[in-house]
Symmetry: C3
Subunit: 155 residues, 3 copies
């Protein structure tokens, strides 16, 4: 396992691993938030989920949508749409030998922006808080993509 | 390509590659399941998709939603929300030099839980079957994230 | 960083990095397209997003859905559902030592099919344009998965 241990001794790669794990754990927290709002507000998407709250027609009234639940679900989907490109592009960028401080700046900005995006979405904060958070994360990913394609393009 | 071949000779990495390929293929099957229900139940989201079933206003009646199709779509989205963190955290965890049997236990539990989640969602089985499957997969991913951050944190 | 630089000198891996960066950037473009249609058509999902267009009840009329916006969102979700398996399976496939020309054929077909899928979805082109684009990308990913499991299965 000689080479693997060398990979994990690379500082850029270790930083990428740490920030990625944090931002993915944050994204996983959205599932718990959805479950929390579904249970406390009794808002369900599946008949089997509300079977415990009543029988037959009585349970069906819980099959509804709710602003709060839909808001968390939109925040979750936005996370997916933005963290997947970060995951792919960031991994390849980390392997392309970038400068350590530049790489860490990218990772910190992205993770900070996504955490702020979640806060802005769930509070909710007035715009342009959420838009700004979105565009910072978006810009960071595009900046890494540009760096990758400029230095390593092979088609 | 000396190092690449060494990477794929690493047993943890090979196990990760195998289980990931299986769980991603399972997720891809959800697209086929959605297409199957859309076609057999004639339930479409786009006007161009049902053009073959009638002309003009006659085709528009197929632009509707259906419980069965929505159920498959929710199962698919839940897969995405959970397999993306597994993909990222699991890859980095595999590279961090974990014990082989511990790593394989994580991968097996995750893949088994996600397959059971799909069965529980599509049958559907009564709760808490699906919730249990969800939390096993969730816990496995968090356990790998914890191991990674504990051993390799670099911020 | 000896090994990392060797990884990025591997031609298959460099090609994977280039094509993945392109297809992920294309997927990120879908967010901009959604924002563009939301702003030009004044169709919003969150009250705070349309606060600039009027006060109180007057702003609430912009909380609606729109065919065009929903179409872009479906195209975006379809991208996610298909690019995530490509990302995971393609990365592992690239590391499994495939033939360079075979690998590049896979990557080109996938990226071309996904770009064509977006064009077919957003124009929209009549079926089976979009279905064909979908199945080419789907088949490419399954072909890489088959190659991986055949050569490197380790359960």
């Amino acid at each position: 396992m000689a080479n693997l241990s060398q990979l994990m001794e690379n500082e850029v790669f270790m930083a990428f691993a740490s920030y990625t794990t944090i931002v993915l754990s944050k994204m996983m927290f959205m599932s718990t938030a959805t479950a929390f709002y579904r249970l406390t507000r009794k808002v369900f998407a599946n008949p089997e989920d509300c079977a415990g709250f009543g029988k037959g027609e009585n349970a069906k009234k819980y099959l509804r949508t709710d602003d709060r639940v839909e808001r968390v679900r939109r925040a979750h989907l936005n996370d997916l749409e933005n963290i997947v490109p970060f995951l792919g592009i960031g991994l390849l960028y980390s392997l392309s030998g970038p400068d350590l401080s530049t790489a860490i700046l990218h990772f910190r900005l992205f993770v900070g922006a996504r955490i702020y995006h979640t806060i802005a979405y769930l509070t909710p904060l007035p715009q342009p808080n959420r838009a700004l958070a979105f565009f910072i994360g978006y810009g960071v990913t595009l900046s890494m993509a540009y760096r990758l394609l400029k230095s390593k393009l092979y088609l």
